[in-house]
């Protein structure tokens, strides 16, 4: 089964990095959708079939928590797992994410393994072997 995944982050480079990590994790990906804030994400969710949403918290126009609340209040969107990927580390905020229905929380900075493990938990084991990860002077080649 190919998964359609939505990545919501106002940072274009961060969206690119998350996409690379997921691609390298061996999951069968249908389409990656990208949004720069919660409001854009809701439009994307209205128009497309999504299997998973990974969202930042701190974004202009609509933050990730409000996006989460709106998704959980919508009959068509409420079953889509939402993973918060954010620098937010305060206990109160993290509790808030989980209390409002976030399926998981990944704190930035993250390792590729943290993303891979979270997706494994939510989507099951990937169909393909993850790419090997080389870490050296040239950096991590996702």
């Amino acid at each position: 089964m190919a998964y359609n995944i939505l990545i919501v982050d106002d940072s274009t480079p961060m969206r690119a990095v998350i996409k690379k990590v997921i691609r390298a994790s061996g999951f069968d990906i249908g389409t990656f959708f990208e949004s720069a804030n919660g409001a854009e994400a809701l439009s994307t969710l209205d128009e497309n079939w999504l299997d998973l949403v990974l969202t930042d918290y701190n974004m202009p126009d609509m933050d990730g928590l409000l996006l989460l609340k709106k998704m959980k209040a919508d009959d068509c969107m409420k079953t889509i797992p939402v993973v918060m990927v954010t620098t937010e580390g305060s206990h109160e905020r993290v509790d808030d994410f989980l209390a409002h229905g976030a399926a998981a929380y990944i704190r930035k900075p993250f390792t590729p393994e943290a993303i891979r493990q979270t997706l494994n938990n939510l989507l099951g084991e990937p169909e393909n072997e993850p790419d090997s990860v080389d870490e050296g002077d040239e950096g991590l080649d996702f």
């Binding site: 106002d10 940072s11 274009t12 480079p13 961060m14 690119a16 990095v17 690379k20 701190n58 974004m59 202009p60 954010t86 620098t87 937010e88 580390g89 305060s90 206990h91 109160e92 905020r93 930035k108 900075p109 993250f110 390792t111 870490e135 040239e138 950096g139 991590l140 080649d141 996702f142």
Partner: protein, 158 residues
């Protein structure tokens, strides 16, 4: 804010963020450890992120241009010659976002701070370091060939 705890939180955050996501080999140099050598601020790119909550202030990150380009290439996994200006600016803004979020979490995870969206520093437009705030902590970050700086200006709310 307690400057000793804040400095400790900054050091922990710098190591986590730069080593985990930017693959840098770094050495953090605190104010008291700084010697005559100071970071070359010419050709540096600056980003700033404001925060509010129990204390307010800003994080200012200054990165030499060459290091900014190398870090961006490493972060995105693409060739340095293929980078666009937006790639570099976007990556530095994400870097300061992670440094700030992690520093404040390390400082006290029971406090809730609000972070602004990061922006590029435009000194020609008068975007200079705030002078009216009560305290600041400054750290230099030595990489293999360059040095960048992270400064936090803050003011406690009464």
């Amino acid at each position: 804010m307690n400057p000793i705890l804040l400095t400790k939180a900054m050091k922990a955050s710098i190591s986590e963020v730069l080593e985990t996501m930017f693959f840098m080999v770094i050495d953090v140099v605190s104010e008291s450890e700084k010697k005559e050598s100071v970071p070359d601020s010419s050709h540096a790119i600056g980003v700033v992120l404001d925060f509010g909550g129990p204390a307010c202030g800003c994080f200012r990150l200054m990165v030499p241009s060459i290091l900014a380009h190398e870090s961006t290439a490493d972060f995105l996994g693409i060739d340095i010659d293929a980078l666009a200006r937006d790639d570099v600016c976007g990556t530095l803004m994400e870097m300061v976002n992670m440094l700030a979020g992690n520093t404040l979490s390390h400082y006290d995870a029971d406090l809730v701070f609000d972070l602004s969206v990061p922006r590029m520093i435009d000194e020609e437009a008068g975007d200079r370091s705030p002078s009216g705030q009560a305290g600041y902590c400054s750290l230099d970050i030595q990489t293999l060939a360059n040095r960048m700086s992270l400064v936090v200006n803050y003011e406690d709310k009464v």
